[in-house]
C-alpha cells in the first residue's frame, strides 16, 4: 500500500472501511481504446485524401474506413453503456442533461458522430457519391476532435485523481487517436494486399512513429516530474515504479505501444520493409490498450480517506 508514513509519529490506520476498489474497470479502458481507433481512422483518411489524393488505393478507403469507425465507435458506446450501473436509464442523459458534465456533452457528440459515420457508409456503399462523402468527411473529422478529447475533460474533472491533468490528457488522447488511426490503416492495407503507394504508407508510418515518440516522452516526463509537484501524484506513481503493483504492466504497455513501434517504424523506413511496419502497427494497437488501462486504474488505488 502506498503511504507516506511519518516515521516519528508511527501513524497507522487501524480502522477504516475498505477501499471501494476499482470503480471504473477495464470497460472504461475498452471505451477509450475503441474510441481512439474509431476517430483516429477518420483523421487518417482525411489526411490521406489531402496529402495523397492521387493514390488510387486511398480512394478505395472510403467505405472501409467508415465501417471500421462504425465498428469501433459501436464498441466504445457498448462498453460505455455496459459500464453504467443503470444502463436502462441511459436516456436520462438526453432528457435531463447537465451541461457542465463532459459525460453529457460527450454522449451527445458521440451519438452525432455515430450518425455522421453511418451517413458516410451510406454515401460510399449505397449512394456511391464520393463528392458528398468527402464534403461530409470534413465535418466528421472536425467533430472527431471533440469526440476524441471529451474523455480527457472527464478525467481532468475527477478532482480526486490528480494524476489526470489537463492539458496532458488532452494531448495524450489526441496522440492515441493518431497512433491507433495510423496503425489501423497500416494493418488494413496489409490485410487487403498492400495496395497503398509507398509514399502513403510511409506517411502513416511517420505519424505512427511520431505519435509513439511524443506519447512516450509525455509519460516519461510525468513519471519524472509529476511527483515533484503533487503529493498524490507521487503516491499514485509509486504503483508503476520499482516493484509497484502495476510496474510490470506499465512497462509492457510502454514497450508495446511506443518503444517497439518507434524502433520498428525507423527500421522499416530505413529498410523499406512493410513487414516490420505491420508488426509496429500491431504492437501499437495492443500496447495502447495496456497503457490506457494502467493509467486508468492506478489513481483508483489511492485511499481517499
Amino acid at each position: 500500500m502506498v503511504h507516506e508514513a511519518v516515521a516519528a509519529t508511527h501513524a497507522v490506520v487501524t480502522l477504516d472501511v475498505g477501499l471501494p476498489g476499482i470503480v471504473w474497470p477495464w470497460f472504461v479502458t475498452m471505451n477509450m481504446w475503441a474510441k481512439s481507433i474509431g476517430t483516429g481512422v477518420i483523421f487518417m483518411l482525411f489526411y490521406l485524401q489531402k496529402r495523397h489524393g492521387d493514390d488510387p488505393a486511398v480512394a478505395t478507403l472510403r467505405f472501409p474506413v467508415a465501417v471500421i469507425s462504425i465498428v469501433f465507435i459501436s464498441i466504445f458506446l457498448l462498453f460505455t453503456l455496459a459500464d453504467l450501473h443503470q444502463p436502462f436509464r441511459m436516456w436520462h442523459i438526453f432528457f435531463y442533461p447537465h451541461w457542465t458534465s463532459p459525460i453529457t456533452i460527450g454522449a451527445i457528440m458521440a451519438s452525432a458522430f455515430m450518425g455522421l459515420i453511418t451517413i458516410l457508409a451510406f454515401f460510399s456503399f449505397i449512394k456511391k457519391d464520393d463528392e458528398a462523402y468527402d464534403k461530409l468527411l470534413l465535418w466528421t473529422m472536425i467533430l472527431a476532435i471533440p469526440v476524441t478529447l471529451y474523455t480527457a475533460a472527464l478525467l481532468s474533472m475527477c478532482t480526486a485523481r490528480e494524476l489526470w491533468q489537463m492539458p496532458t490528457e488532452t494531448v495524450q488522447m489526441m496522440l492515441a487517436a493518431l497512433l491507433s488511426g495510423a496503425a489501423t490503416i497500416i494493418l488494413y492495407d496489409a490485410v487487403t494486399g498492400s495496395k497503398m503507394k509507398e509514399e502513403s504508407i510511409r506517411s502513416m508510418a511517420i505519424i505512427l512513429g511520431l505519435a509513439a515518440f511524443a506519447s512516450f516522452t509525455m509519460y516519461m516526463a510525468e513519471m519524472i516530474f509529476g511527483p515533484m509537484k503533487a503529493e498524490e501524484v507521487a503516491a499514485v506513481l509509486e504503483f508503476v515504479k520499482g516493484h509497484g503493483e502495476y510496474a510490470t504492466m506499465f512497462w509492457i504497455g510502454q514497450v508495446f505501444a511506443y518503444i517497439v513501434p518507434m524502433a520498428l517504424v525507423l527500421l522499416s523506413i530505413v529498410n523499406r520493409s512493410n513487414n516490420l511496419l505491420k508488426l509496429a502497427a500491431l504492437s501499437a494497437v495492443v500496447g495502447l490498450w495496456v497503457v490506457k488501462h494502467v493509467w486508468l486504474i492506478i489513481p483508483q488505488l489511492l485511499p481517499m480517506s
Binding site: 508514513a5 497507522v12 480502522l15 472527464l154 475527477c158 480526486a160
Partner: protein
C-alpha cells in the same frame, strides 16, 4: 442559509454511535457507509494515542460530484446541501471518481450513487441529522454557517485558528469543518495502512476458517 457540519475531534471518542445512527436512519446497505469513523493510532508504545475522525460528505460549495453528474442527480438544494436523486442517477460513477473525499459509493441494492445528505429529509421536518442526535459528547455540531448566532458559527469563531477542512488545496470549499484535526487525521497519505488489517479483525489475508485446506 448554508448548512454546515463541524466535528470537534477533541471530543470524539470513537464510539461509532453516529455511524450506526446514520446507517439505521438511512437504511444504508451492508458493506457501505454514508458516515464512518476512521481510527488512526499514533506513536510508539508506551507513548501512543488513538485518534478518531468521523468522515462524511463535505457538501462542498464547489462540488466536483455535482459538476460531473451528467443528469443532475447530484444537485444543490437551497440550504447548501448536495442532495442526490437516486431515481435519476444512471450509475456512471463519475461522482465516485470525482469526490476527493471518497464520500460517494454505489449502493449495491439500487445500483445508484449514494452519500450523506446531512439527513435532508430530517432537516425538512426541522429535525437534526441522525448522527448529531446520536453523539453522546456533542462532538457533531450542525447548523447555518451564514448565521453568526448559530452554534456552529460561534464554535468556529471560538476556535479560530484550529478549524480545518479536508484537502483545502482541491478548491472544493467544503462545508464540513474539523476542530483539533491534523495531518494524521485529515490527510489519507499521512498514515500507514496495512491492507486488510483492521482493529476488530486483524486479518491480513482472507484465509478460510480453519486455515488452509
Amino acid at each position: 442559509m448554508k448548512l454546515g457540519f463541524l466535528v470537534d475531534l477533541h471530543l470524539c471518542m470513537g464510539c461509532k454511535g453516529c455511524q450506526i445512527a446514520c446507517k439505521v436512519e438511512n437504511e444504508v446497505p451492508l458493506s457501505t457507509w454514508r458516515l464512518r469513523v476512521k481510527y488512526v493510532d499514533v506513536g510508539t508504545f508506551p507513548e501512543t494515542k488513538r485518534t478518531f475522525t468521523p468522515l462524511r460528505c463535505n457538501h462542498c460549495e464547489n462540488a466536483p460530484c455535482e459538476r460531473i453528474c451528467p443528469v443532475s442527480a447530484l444537485h444543490y438544494i437551497e440550504n447548501g446541501i448536495v442532495n442526490i436523486d437516486k431515481e435519476r442517477c444512471i450509475g456512471c460513477a463519475g461522482c465516485v471518481m470525482a469526490c476527493p473525499y471518497g464520500a460517494i459509493y454505489i449502493d449495491p441494492e439500487t445500483q445508484t450513487a449514494d452519500k450523506c445528505t446531512y439527513c435532508a429529509h430530517r432537516i425538512a421536518s426541522s429535525m437534526m441529522p441522525a448522527c448529531v442526535v446520536a453523539c453522546p459528547v456533542e462532538a457533531n455540531i450542525f447548523g447555518d454557517i451564514e448565521d453568526p448566532t448559530s452554534n456552529i458559527s460561534k464554535y468556529i469563531m471560538q476556535h479560530n485558528g484550529d478549524v480545518q477542512v479536508r484537502k483545502p488545496e482541491k478548491g472544493t470549499n467544503p462545508h464540513h469543518y474539523y476542530v483539533g484535526g491534523g495531518n494524521v487525521t485529515l490527510n489519507p497519505l499521512a498514515s500507514f495502512r496495512v491492507e486488510g488489517h483492521q482493529l476488530f479483525n486483524k486479518l491480513t489475508t482472507k484465509m478460510p476458517v480453519g486455515g488452509h485446506h
